[in-house]
Symmetry: C3
Subunit: 213 residues, 3 copies
């Protein structure tokens, strides 16, 4: 039986994730390039909603849920606006924002994979959809501000999302009840991400390339 | 009652907008980077048709109208080809091309928002769709030629489109007849855009960042 | 009568093309920028599957065939992994990889155009869809690693794909049997591509721009 993705708890968590992504996405954009208010809010919204939109395009579930639902649009726009207005002051809040972002990553990886299963895609596809939901928004932002997407080059970011999606999809295949499975999967993703941040762990690079070079 | 988006008048205006976008998009691309004929025509077509394609993907109205209709493809390809052949000479026509581009922006903002309403999306979604239709093609071009999309950083470009879409969607909500509403909305967008160009007005930047720095 | 795109022969050729694209795409990405294992495999998969995904989005044939079918995902992931593990050693295999890539280009141009006809799009649209299928994946990769897509700037890459798609769509319009037509079309694309590589031929640039400048 599937997690009820319309329950108030699930929705609150998903909206909190979207808010964290919008805030963090807009702050990253402000730091990396010069933008006006349109740019900051747009990039916050792209970071928050882009992953879910890519997932829904691949599923053919159009119009995308995060675009149709005014709550996601509002939360994402407010996150971007706060980053625009208080960007300088928010620099001191680096740690809570990083934690919120890891929470968003975990929630999106799990909810994205569950939505894939809901639409009847296969095992590997559901795992990929969860990962795309989690990292797609940040990738879109990086492409728009002309950065090489950080998810492709450094740190543990896609891998925790992949693990979270893999856990929840495996649990579904083995018939485990999905509420505890979703909690364990999100917890695994969150833990790996925070351990990666704390100890500055990176994914392997191609053999023969020196990381420090 | 909705504007008849299949009327000859509406179609002619929309095609004129697509032509202006293709011409202006291809000329911008030629100025910013080195391209061959494939690149110039492709970028002209992306600028002209990209916004409408993004709108139709988000609406799930696939295949996209501007892709299915040979008239849009032809007008866009011809605009790109003219830019390729006469790019140097067209530099003298900067002002008429800028005016045509503002006209395209206005027409696409209004027609994009109306198409959203036609498909039954909400108020905020229709406004966003109008804006995406207007600025999406230029954003796609800038991503392809590795520029930070100018719409995110400078000038009044997204804001007039947003105002135009907002006017036509509000008029619909208030039950105003849509033909005059569409004219007023397009006029508002066009005027704000041209005033922004004339007086070099920009959208606000984040507090604490010096524009001249 | 249409080519049976589900025949084992057709499928094998298409999978071989996807494998060549994944390998070549990932190797190009490794050469141009610093990536970790997630980045190399992701870019290999984007190169292999991106063109087909863009085609299926434009057709509204969602979820995209190359995303739904585990064989395409597997072949693309394995190609990316091989490039990650043996990237240095594969530099000596430049010529076979270039030939495989030209084969992938030809197969994708023809199969993309045929899929468009299958879905009932017009002549020009089918030609464009074939070209997008062939060059879309590489373009997506270049955008992600912040290169100006090579297809827009240099060499004969889009033009052979365009010719291949044009031949197979024209043959369909004239009622020619499609199996020989597809073979001739793919052969034409492959030959033009290889002649372009051998003699370093480029598409024309805008009048007045010196290529050597």
């Amino acid at each position: 039986m599937l997690v009820d993705t319309t329950s108030p708890l699930f929705l609150s968590l998903d909206l909190a994730g979207a808010f964290a992504f919008a805030l963090n996405g807009a702050l990253t954009a402000i730091r990396l390039t010069r933008l006006d208010i349109v740019g900051v809010v747009t990039l916050g919204m792209c970071t928050a909603l882009g992953g879910g939109i890519l997932r829904d395009i691949l599923l053919g579930a159009l119009p995308p849920a995060t675009f149709s639902d005014w709550r996601y649009l509002t939360v994402a726009a407010v996150g971007g606006l706060i980053a625009f207005l208080f960007g300088r002051g928010l620099d001191r809040l680096n740690t809570p924002i990083l934690v919120l972002d890891a929470a968003g990553l975990s929630l999106f990886a799990v909810s994205g994979a569950l939505k894939g299963l809901d639409h009847g895609v296969g095992f590997a596809q559901a795992v990929i959809l969860g990962t795309i939901t989690a990292v797609g928004g940040g990738t879109l932002r990086d492409v728009l501000i002309r950065e090489i997407p950080s998810v492709l080059t450094s740190g543990l970011y896609a891998i925790p999302a992949l693990v979270g999606a893999l856990v929840v999809v495996s649990a579904d295949a083995w018939g485990v009840a999905q509420v505890p499975a979703a909690l364990v999967a999100a917890g695994a993703c969150f833990s790996i991400r925070m351990i990666g941040v704390r100890f500055d762990i990176s994914a392997p690079t191609p053999p023969g390339t020196a990381r420090g070079a």
